[in-house]
């Protein structure tokens, strides 16, 4: 062996040794996260993870940005099938049922037990409306991270201009139609709501719930109520807004288009997520205000947002590390900070007891309205094949908004399609008789 090769070997051995050093002390885990609102949230999330990595020595988290909610689900499931499951994933809160049924995510009950706490104790600090989406079949599967509800945003100048009192926003569907008729002028529409995939299903859930309905069976993943009076009424209402009252443009507008129309004064009232609060606050030039989603039968809105889940197939060590990271991400302080940064509301009640949060709410009364609507919040729909079942409704409602179908027919067809999609699950459960 020449001296050069020996030196080389020595250097190589040294590199291995130093590279191996932190390995025995540190557990490396991966955390997949989508960016639900805009690019700067990705930066903030990366900053949080870096802060965590620097705060302790046992766990090193790699934050992996994974596109939108649907891409995140696709990537996490594909990685798990290929034998590289991520440890922790920030997942759309209504994917839990689906992911549990496919065996991709694990129950968090063992972690609660190891921490010597009970599920009830653990969930006590989270808003009651969030519990249903955190659990599947009575066990904890997801820890809520950021949440939202739909909210009515309205242009105060437009209200004054047509003689409406901005302090008294429409509370019922009747008042909404009235106001929207007055507000519609020239190329300005009185009302607008996003109708792209995901958003439309969520808003139709809000309307059917405000109409006394439930949208889906919270206890059982094989039933949706698309052709029931509550949804039929909601569908007819949207149809009327477009074709009878002519206060909403015909066709499908995506969320980006809705907020832009609102900023540009082309739409006076819009239904958007509370998750858009910061974005609207920063970009809206004219004075605006927010209000509850108007109701027909009762006040009710669905929860939206995302929760942290853990994937199956990881080592015990990795599970422990992942759970540690989840606990750090969901402290009242971290959740409060994230809430102020994004506009989502914090899932923990105690976040709102912190002085920074009290200051923030005092300065931003619109955030208070979002919080006040929480007691009326209900679970987000989650069924077997959640996305496909949701699209069954969305496709039909979009056809209706384009004037290609009548509301009555649309909900009937949506129900038929949804039933077909859920058939395999139903056959394995409710219809499997002794």
């Amino acid at each position: 062996m020449t001296i050069v090769t020996r030196l080389g070997m020595g250097a190589l051995a040294l590199t291995f040794a130093t590279a191996a050093l932190p390995a025995w002390a540190q557990t490396k885990i991966e955390f997949f996260f989508p960016v639900p609102v805009e690019g700067k949230l990705a930066r903030e999330m990366t900053r949080l993870v870096k802060l965590y990595n620097e705060s302790q020595k046992e766990v090193e988290v790699t934050a992996v940005y994974t596109g939108g909610y649907d891409d995140t689900k696709l990537k996490a499931q594909a990685a798990a099938k290929a034998g590289k499951p991520p440890s922790v994933v920030l997942m759309s809160a209504n994917f839990n049922v689906d992911l549990k049924l496919s065996g991709d995510i694990i129950s968090l009950e063992p972690m609660l037990k190891a921490d010597e706490t009970t599920r009830d104790d653990y969930l006590k600090d989270f808003w009651p409306a969030l519990h249903a989406n955190a659990m599947v079949d009575g066990e904890l599967y997801g820890v809520p991270f950021h949440n939202s509800t739909p909210l009515l945003y309205y242009n105060v100048e437009h209200f004054k201009e047509v003689g409406l009192d901005p302090a008294k926003p429409p509370r019922t569907w009747a008042e909404l139609v009235d106001a929207a008729k007055k507000l519609t002028k020239g190329d300005r529409y009185g009302f607008l709501m996003p109708a792209g995939y995901d958003y439309l299903g969520w808003l139709m859930e809000a309307l059917s719930m405000s109409n006394g309905g439930r949208y889906f069976n919270e206890e059982y993943g094989g039933e949706v109520y698309y052709d029931q009076p509550s949804m039929l009424g909601a569908a007819r209402f949207v149809e009327d807004l477009i074709f009878k009252h002519k206060v909403m443009p015909q066709g499908v507008t995506e969320a980006g288009g809705v907020s832009t129309s609102f900023f540009a004064g082309k739409a006076s009232m819009v239904l958007l997520s509370t998750g858009s609060l910061s974005f609207i606050r920063e970009n809206m030039k004219q004075p605006y205000d927010v209000a509850f989603v108007p109701m027909n039968v009762r006040n009710a809105v669905p929860i939206g947002g995302a929760s942290l889940v853990m994937f199956a197939g990881q080592s015990e060590e990795s599970k422990k590390a992942g759970w540690k990271f989840i606990k750090w991400l969901t402290t009242p302080e971290t959740l409060g900070g994230w809430s102020r940064f994004t506009g989502y509301f914090a899932p923990r009640k105690s976040s709102y007891d912190k002085p920074e949060m009290k200051d923030f709410i005092a300065k931003n009364p619109d955030a208070k309205v979002a919080l006040d609507q929480l007691p009326y919040a209900k679970p987000w729909f989650a069924t077997y094949q959640t996305v496909a079942v949701r699209k069954a409704l969305e496709d039909e409602i979009q056809a209706m908004m384009n004037g290609k179908k009548k509301a009555d027919q649309a909900v009937k067809d949506a129900q038929k399609k949804a039933d077909e999609l859920m058939r395999p699950y139903v056959e394995q459960t409710s219809l499997k008789l002794p």
């Binding site: 992996v64 990685a79 034998g83 958007l272 974005f279």
Partner: protein
């Protein structure tokens, strides 16, 4: 009189073509204008094609800050050139085999090969990812490239290109005692260059713009490609759109390709026009 009419029809044609070209270029124009518009998320003239009187670089600064674009560019260039380099070898050899060699089942094999074109890539995500993990290429750039090393489209294109070349040249070389590889390298490939260039354009644009597969394979921020960086502006689900930043980011991603196309436009057009046929 006739001359006037001729002039008129030429002018009319030019006007018509300009109108079509303008229509086609509208999205690019809008992207260009919007990327320099200050605070375009909220302004009422967001949709306007007229440039703002006070252009700003703010959007570009925001876009560049939201990711490590330098690394994204390097990674994308590595992926695109790596894929192309291997593809050039595999598609010309496979194309040669299907065009010139005689072996049993050749045509059947060729058609079976073409069937690949019918498969939708997303259907192969999980099996491909499994293979990449087994090969130890997960979360590496070679893992992003691996599935594209063989190309059905490229093989088809090169086979057709070779078939169109007269055999005389090869026979002359063979009589002079050239082995098969020398025939390919010195005789066939130089004549098939337009075909290769045409294929290279298709390959480069496809892999430059690809989103889903790199997203699946790559985890480490240091290995991410441009499209994933861009997605962080474009994927907003619940909020609004920062149109200006989105436009600036889009420009940043497409600029190198656009510049290359303009620079080599003549070559490209020639390649497509003369693709393979010159005897």
């Amino acid at each position: 009189m006739i001359r006037v009419r001729k002039h008129l029809s030429v002018a009319l044609l030019a006007a018509l073509l300009s109108a079509v070209a303008f229509l086609w270029a509208t999205p690019f124009l809008w992207t260009l204008v919007a990327s320099f518009r200050p605070e375009s998320a909220g302004s009422a003239d967001m949709a306007s094609l007229l440039p703002d009187l006070h252009p700003t670089l703010e959007n570009f600064r925001n876009a560049l800050e939201s990711g490590t674009f330098g690394i994204y560019y390097v990674n994308t260039i590595i992926v695109v050139t790596g894929v192309l380099a291997v593809q050039c070898v595999t598609v010309s050899l496979a194309g040669y085999a299907f065009a010139r060699l005689r072996f049993p089942g050749r045509d059947f094999l060729f058609y079976a090969f073409l069937l690949q074109l019918m498969l939708v890539p997303p259907a192969l995500i999980v099996p491909n990812l499994r293979t990449v993990v087994d090969l130890g290429l997960y979360d590496t750039l070679p893992g992003v490239m691996a599935p594209y090393f063989a190309s059905a489209f490229g093989t088809f294109l090169m086979r057709q290109t070779f078939l169109a070349l007269p055999r005389d040249f090869e026979e002359a070389a063979a009589i002079d005692g050239a082995p098969w590889w020398a025939i390919i390298w010195y005789v066939l490939l130089p004549m098939a260059k337009p075909g290769l260039v045409a294929f290279a354009i298709v390959s480069i644009t496809a892999h430059w713009n690809e989103f889903l597969w790199p997203l699946m394979v790559i985890n480490s921020p240091g290995n991410q490609t441009l499209t994933i960086g861009l997605a962080s502006f474009a994927m907003g689900a619940e909020g609004g759109k920062e149109w200006g930043v989105l436009a600036a980011g889009t420009l940043l991603v497409m600029a190198p390709l656009a510049v290359a196309f303009v620079a080599f436009q003549r070559r490209f057009v020639d390649s497509f026009v003369f693709s393979g046929v010159k005897g």
